[in-house]
Symmetry: C2
Subunit: 278 residues, 2 copies
């Protein structure tokens, strides 16, 4: 995604020069975006110095300076009192208008609230984006288990409840592509073998719920179900994440399963999905 360092675009006195001068063939727009990407980058820093931005974006300091000023004047970046820069409210304002996120969220939220209220556990709403589960919404009470999901964050498909559901109903070529890569094993319990995963996906398609336990974060389990749109296509997944119950043999409270199913159905219906098939 981010990546290449890149540098100046001048060819200048390379007349008889030895080393080919590194050229930055990125367009102005690409450079501007690189500056934003500096904030999304792996190390999730909420504020950066000018130099740090220049560094991460692979741009000369003076160019960065000029471009950052442009972002600030538009409101996409904000300068805080300590001189560091952070993402600006304007960006948030524009970002939340994004139709996919906004529509789904608006429709789903009441159902997610119901689910939260009846379970008192983390409630997640995620969609498939590229090869990740992208978290659109997350409701948590005051005392829920610590989890790593964040709104706007991404987690792998094979080790999360929502991820596995999204993968189960994804196009076959995506499943094949995903399973052909080597998958990270976050905990001893994480299932990474393609064969086993395929069985799991089939199980999820058969039962309409995914059950995960101790595969991403120690001490937490999750239970997820698919959300379908008018056309029957799975467009999102809901889940609840609970503290793992050492008693329960495999899978959490059955009442939870009903609640998650009900929430998923509710949202699907609100999206125009008909037919309850078993």
């Amino acid at each position: 995604m981010s990546g290449k360092p890149a540098r100046a675009r001048f060819t200048e006195q390379q007349a008889e020069g030895e080393l080919s001068p590194p050229v930055d063939d990125r367009s102005v727009a690409a450079r501007l975006f690189a500056i934003l990407d500096a904030f999304t980058a792996p190390t999730q820093a909420s504020s950066l110095t000018l130099t740090a931005i220049a560094d991460r974006a692979g741009l000369p300091l003076s160019t960065t300076h000029r471009m950052v000023a442009e972002w600030v004047s538009w409101g996409g970046l904000a300068r805080q009192e300590d001189g560091r820069y952070s993402l600006g409210m304007r960006l948030w304002e524009v970002g939340v208008q994004t139709p996919t996120a906004r529509n789904l969220r608006t429709i789903a939220l009441p159902y997610l609230e119901d689910l939260y209220e009846s379970s008192r556990e983390h409630v997640h709403l995620a969609i498939l984006d590229g090869r990740d589960a992208l978290y659109l919404e997350k409701l948590s009470g005051h005392h829920a288990v610590r989890v790593i999901s964040r709104v706007g964050g991404r987690l792998p498909l094979h080790s999360t409840g929502v991820g596995l559901v999204l993968l189960a109903y994804a196009p076959n070529d995506l499943i094949d592509a995903y399973l052909s890569e080597s998958l990270d094993k976050y905990l001893p319990g994480t299932v990474t073998s393609p064969g086993e995963l395929r069985k799991r996906l089939a199980g999820i398609r058969a039962h309409g719920v995914a059950v995960m336990s101790e595969e991403m974060t120690a001490g937490s389990s999750s239970l997820a179900a698919p959300i379908r749109d008018r056309t029957g296509l799975v467009v999102a997944a809901v889940s609840i994440v609970t503290r793992t119950n050492p008693q329960a043999p495999r899978g959490p409270h059955p009442a939870h399963e009903q609640a998650v199913r009900a929430a998923a159905h509710g949202v699907s219906r609100a999206l125009g999905y008909r037919r309850s098939e078993a």
Copy 2:
């Protein structure tokens, strides 16, 4: 905010020319931003044709074409099957990382949920941005009153509950500036006189809650309270919006008032605010 049409920057054959050729002195960055602004613009359209974007941004078609392509390749815009463009997920992803919004939301959400649960009414969280109330969060059940607030939306300070609270605790020069402008009267009940508003603001500061009835949307009333950060500064406001009760003389259910107060205090405390005064 958006505004000026602007056009080409060439001066060319104006040798003896009469009309001065319209020049667009916007930078590349400013033009790129203008394209995004086209989507935020007054007429809240969720998807636009290329021509419409060019139009709203005041850019030549070919330039728009090239720039839109840049946005799409980064993910800030997305092209849908029908050829129209909409804001892209990438923008959402970056936007939700914006610290102010993210931190406040994360901390406040559990309290907002409690408030929603106990009141079953619209719950709003807003901050002061420029001269508007900017809505950061909104929780609504399945059957709540129709209101016009949206997450990411803006509403005036003098005609909404959260707005009035934010104005009440704003710096004096902002209050003066705001009240010196002519204020829109949305409904017969909207208070627009500077004098009356000042009295109201004083009342809000004295009681710690704002009560509004039939001033923005017919049939709805609202009740708002301030949220303070560690330093005691009011940084946001919570409110609930209820269907106006024709019986109640002025102001909604007293239990609601307690709940809103409690939510505001809860969030303030979570933000590090100490001292309960009164």
